[in-house]
Symmetry: C2
Subunit: 129 residues, 2 copies
C-alpha cells in the first residue's frame, strides 16, 4: 500500500503519516522508486496511533503505548499506569475549563449586550467585578 491508500484506510493525513515516520513512530519500507510501502503491521500501528491520539495521548505517550502494544510480554500494569496519568490530566483540564466557563458565563449573563457602553464583562476583566 502506498501512502495515499494507508491515509484513506486510517483516516490520517499523508502529511501526518510522513511526520510519524520522521519522528520514528513508524518505519515503513521503501520501494525501488523511493515510495513508502506500508504493510499490514504498519496499518495496525497507524490505526492504533490514530485512536490513541484521538483520546488525547501525547506523541510520547503514544510512543510508549505503541512499544507496549508491540511487546507481547508487556505487563498490563504498565499500560494502565500511562492511561491513568493521562486520565488525571484530562480531569484537570476539564476542571480548568469548567472554572473558566463558570466565570465567563456569569459575566456574559450580567451583560445587557445592547448599544450602551456599560459592560460587566469588561469590568470583570479589568478587575472591578
Amino acid at each position: 500500500m502506498n501512502i495515499g491508500d494507508i491515509s484513506k484506510a486510517t483516516g490520517l493525513p499523508a502529511k501526518t503519516i510522513r511526520y510519524y515516520e520522521e519522528i520514528g513512530l513508524i518505519r515503513p519500507a521503501r520501494g525501488a522508486n523511493g515510495y513508502r510501502h506500508f504493510s499490514e503491521t504498519d496499518l495496525h500501528n497507524l490505526t492504533f496511533l490514530g485512536r490513541a491520539r484521538s483520546l488525547g495521548f501525547s506523541i510520547e505517550e503514544c510512543r510508549a503505548l505503541l512499544a507496549l502494544y508491540t511487546d507481547k510480554d508487556r505487563a498490563s500494569a504498565d499500560v494502565k499506569q500511562i492511561a491513568r496519568v493521562h486520565l488525571a490530566q484530562i480531569d484537570a483540564k476539564i476542571a480548568e475549563l469548567q472554572a473558566m466557563r463558570a466565570t465567563l458565563a456569569e459575566l456574559v449573563s450580567a451583560c445587557a449586550g445592547d448599544q450602551r457602553p456599560d459592560c460587566p464583562i469588561l469590568k470583570g476583566l479589568a478587575g472591578e467585578g
Copy 2:
C-alpha cells in the same frame, strides 16, 4: 515602573510582557537608557490581558477586547458577542474532553493492571474493543 515591577504587579512573566509589546498589544514608553517604562494605563491593560488570557481568550480575542475596553463609546453587544463565541468554544472543548474521558475511563476500569500481558486498553486502541 520597570518591567520587573510590572511583572510583579500583574503576575505576568517579563518575557510575556515583552512578547505582548512585540505583537502590538501594548506600547510602553522607553527611557533614555532603553528601558521600558510602564504607566498606570499599561498596568491596567496588562491586568486586563492577564485576566482575559486566564479565561482562555486567544491573543486575537484579547486584542479585540482590549480595543473595546479602551473605546469608551463601545457597544456592550460587541463585547458580549466575543464572549459568547468563546463560551461556545469552551463548551465544545469540555464536551470533547468528556467524550475522551468516558472512553478512556471505560478502558482503564476494564484493565486488570497486573503482570499479565492481556490488556483491554491496548485492545481498545487497536480497534478490537
